[in-house]
Symmetry: C2
Subunit: 143 residues, 2 copies
DNA sequence: GGTGATGCTTGAGTCAATCAAGCATTTCTG
DNA sequence: CAGAAATGCTTGATTGACTCAAGCATCACC
């Protein structure tokens, strides 16, 4: 089930458009992950290990418990997509890296998840800039 | 963990803005559900029972197995938020309805999930219309 | 040099989700 | 009309995500 799967009683046309957009994005992400034999959480974690990362770091970024990351990383490690290395500066910490296979799978995933590319390709450059600005403004985080 | 929790190597400013927007939406939804003692899936299902619905119907809409709906509805039913009634026209089928408590909780949830309202309130009416149109166009589903 | 914080893991438990079976009912078809 | 196929839902088994509570090792500080 994509999250949150559709409109929540949107009251305006703009709200409905936002809901539909988010819904389409989430579903596309899920489909892409699945197509590469990953869960959403796994694709999400794998994607973040472009550079060496710590477990804690990822947990904070994703807003979840560290033990959750332990578990997800263990599954990725079992498939030899990521590796846990020792951190030379702190022996409690782990430096996560992607293996070559992990890099490959991640690239394949991103290629499959063409949602954003498709979305932008439906817009002119001007429109893209406009959309970006409006989304930022809507979030209350002006560029 | 919000899904999909952040950018997937976005290559353009517009793509990054979309990612951030979706991420913020998903997180807000999760927080709101949690605040009312529901999971994302539960809030999502509850929200769709504004009018009587069948199990199959919901499963199709959410793109998941019917047995998944059975399970989620059972939890909502245990909390007396929804009820399963017989369908007079098809005795295999169930007509799901919200109880008064279910209506109330759903309303409270929607009030808490102020994401869309907040987002639109950051925009002028003109900008809202523009955003809606751009999102539709990006999705390739012109209004 | 001990005390407390920090980074990670383990174990127990809940929920979401899928698949395979199975039951009851409806619908189609010969 | 009767038998076969399809449909709507549930159950049971299994996997994964997620949380919390504990615990271990290491670091940081006073």
């Amino acid at each position: 089930m994509a999250v949150p799967s559709g409109p929540v009683s949107p009251s305006t046309e703009a709200e409905r458009a936002m809901f539909d957009f988010v819904d389409a994005y989430d579903r596309a992400y899920e489909v892409a992950a699945d197509r590469h034999g990953m869960t959403v959480a796994q694709a999400c974690v794998l994607g973040r290990i472009a550079r060496p990362r710590g477990m804690r770091e990822l947990a904070d970024e994703l807003g979840c418990d560290a033990s959750n990351i332990t578990q997800i990383v263990s599954r990725l490690e079992a498939r030899e997509l990521v590796e846990r290395h020792a951190d030379p500066h702190d022996r409690r910490s782990r430096r996560l890296t992607r293996t070559a296979a992990g890099d490959e799978l991640n690239a394949a995933f991103e290629k499959t998840f063409e949602f954003a590319r498709a979305a932008t390709s439906n817009l002119t450059l001007d429109e893209q800039a406009q959309l970006a600005e409006l989304l930022r403004k809507a979030l209350g985080r002006p560029a």
